[in-house]
């Protein structure tokens, strides 16, 4: 890159010009909107600086909304990561037919993008009150899911639905890491007398865990910001934070614009924390994946 410095100066405007649309775009549609919300979160109705809005978040209704969102995102991320990891290990290291692997990877690409409203419809048709699985369980096995406490429009119902895109996302992101476990490490461990469980206990998982933990935070942020599936599935039944904010944007449900901005700021803080963990952990993981 030494010749870059030697280039005549007049080149620079041309180059900057080509990068300009990207920069303008980032400023207009990412930085400014976020900063404006941050500003609004600390501004009262008359335009003065205040901590009122942030303090206003600590009411039962809003804290409960954050908490159930965190629980659903956490549960769907942890379950999605564990099941996704098991599935990826099965198709890559489980000596299954080669064709299955590419089939699972292709399907994962589709399923991880099959989110939002249609996903909610699919689960209503499957596990709703008139869904196929609900009916089969009732008529064939005499087991009434809804009588025994299951409800699709609840915490577990939503978590189960989110898993449909969380598991494939885990498969897609963790597969390269599992591919990165070199055969030589396996052979070296065997030569030294390690059995399969010892290999995983002392070599496999210690190398994989940063990637797993990193993907976990990605899955968490993914579920935390989601709204379309929840909205189509439960309407306003389940008071997760995205639904609360959606109602606030629609019709000022909290009757305080500043509080709405604070609610949004709280969401950014939570997803940022998840992603900071991801970045730190991903940097750690990369050392082994050369």
């Amino acid at each position: 890159m030494t010749d870059t410095a030697a280039k005549p100066h007049r080149r620079i405007p041309w180059d900057s010009l080509a990068v300009l649309p990207f920069v303008i775009f980032a400023v207009m549609f990412l930085f400014l909107p976020t900063l404006s919300l941050m500003g609004a979160a600390f501004t009262d109705r008359t335009g003065n600086f205040t901590f009122e809005n942030i303090a206003g978040l600590f009411t039962d209704q809003i804290l409960a909304a954050y908490w159930i969102s965190i629980r659903i995102s956490g549960a769907s991320a942890i379950l999605g990561a564990l099941i996704g990891l098991a599935l990826t290990l099965a198709i890559i290291r489980g000596k299954l037919p080669q064709g299955l692997r590419s089939a699972v990877m292709t399907f994962s690409g589709v399923a991880s993008n099959f989110a939002g409203v249609p996903l909610a419809f699919a689960f209503i048709a499957t596990l709703g009150r008139l869904g196929l699985v609900t009916i089969i369980l009732k008529t064939v096995f005499g087991f009434d899911m809804y009588r025994s406490g299951f409800n699709l429009f609840s915490f577990w119902g939503l978590t189960l639905t989110y898993l449909y895109f969380q598991i494939p996302l885990m498969v897609l992101t963790i597969a390269p890491a599992i591919d990165g476990l070199k055969k030589e490490w396996n052979e070296a461990a065997q030569t030294l007398g390690a059995n399969t469980s010892q290999f995983w206990r002392y070599i496999g998982f210690p190398i994989l865990w940063p990637s797993v933990l990193g993907t976990l935070s990605l899955l968490f942020a993914n579920a935390f910001g989601a709204i379309a599936t929840a909205w189509a599935l439960t309407g306003s039944n389940l008071n997760i934070v995205t639904v609360l904010l959606y109602n606030q944007i629609r019709g000022d449900a909290l009757q305080n614009p500043g509080l709405g901005a604070a609610l949004a700021l709280g969401m950014i803080v939570i997803t940022s924390l998840a992603n900071v963990i991801y970045l730190i952990v991903a940097a750690r993981a990369e050392r082994w994946m050369k």
């Binding site: 489980g94 399907f107 699919a122 048709a125 449909y164 379309a228 189509a232 997803t271 992603n275």
Partner: protein
């Protein structure tokens, strides 16, 4: 080793069941509209609905504009940053990560506050302005995927050598990007385009908050009013997503696999 294979099959079958059963159940449900027998009535009803056609067309058009704007924003930036301004790379990585960190709902809230009808740039003051804002919002949503696709595409070709060769042959900057770089990374761009399309086509949150008649809000409306049509629409959406992702897989077979030595 036998037990390992057994567990692998067990995990695969259980996982497969979780993914196949909802699709099968949805398909079965979508066929139940006519009493007592299976029929495609729900699909006929969907296709006969003029709002289906109009909202779907609207989303396709917005999707196409999103792809074009996305390419115009990303390709020149990635090219020049790779070629002459590598110090900007961390900034681009950071920017393209942001849409994954900031929920779309929060972004659109910011847009509505910032670009309302009484603001300096009143996007939401007119229908055309709102359509433009919706397109830009979708470009933002798709930015992480478009950036990664284009960046991967440029990594596999030696843009430095190609650029020098083109310059020696007398091409100007516009010709280099349009006639040399673009055709060489076309497959990568198309992958990003299909992924963008899959994301945009059924998007609900932003379209609904900007009050545009897109496919996502239409789906929600049908979901609250009808019984069998939602299942049919879920199947149709799944097929569309499958088509878009399938195109990426097909294109992947044509993509150059060797990485340029300079990288």
């Amino acid at each position: 080793m036998k037990s390992q294979k057994f567990w692998a099959w067990l995990v695969f079958i259980l996982g497969g069941a979780y993914f196949i059963v909802p699709l099968a159940a949805t398909f079965e449900f979508s066929l139940r509209m006519r009493r007592g027998e299976y029929s495609f009535d729900a699909y006929a009803s969907v296709f006969a609905d003029p709002y289906f056609a109009s909202s779907f067309t609207y989303s396709v058009i917005v999707g196409l504009f999103t792809i074009v704007v996305g390419i115009l924003v990303v390709v020149p930036a990635v090219y020049f940053v790779r070629l002459r301004m590598p110090w900007l790379r961390p900034f681009m990585e950071f920017v393209t990560l942001l849409p994954l960190v900031i929920p779309a709902l929060v972004l659109v809230y910011g847009y509505i506050r910032l670009y309302g009808s009484s603001s300096l740039i009143p996007f939401t003051g007119s229908v055309l302005g709102t359509d433009i804002l919706l397109t830009c919002a979708y470009v933002t949503l798709a930015l992480p995927y478009m950036y990664r696709a284009v960046d991967n595409g440029m990594r596999t070709i030696d843009i430095g050598t190609l650029t020098e060769a083109a310059q020696i042959a007398g091409a100007n900057q516009l010709q280099i990007i349009g006639q040399i770089i673009l055709p060489n990374i076309l497959i990568a761009i198309l992958s990003g385009a299909f992924l963008t399309f899959a994301i945009v086509i059924g998007e609900f949150t932003i379209a609904s908050l900007l009050n545009r008649p897109a496919f996502g809000p239409y789906l929600v409306g049908i979901g609250t009013n009808r019984a069998y049509e939602p299942a049919a629409l879920a199947i149709i959406s799944f097929i569309i997503t499958w088509g878009a992702m399938g195109m990426i897989n097909v294109l992947g077979r044509f993509a150059p696999r060797t990485s340029a030595r300079t990288d």
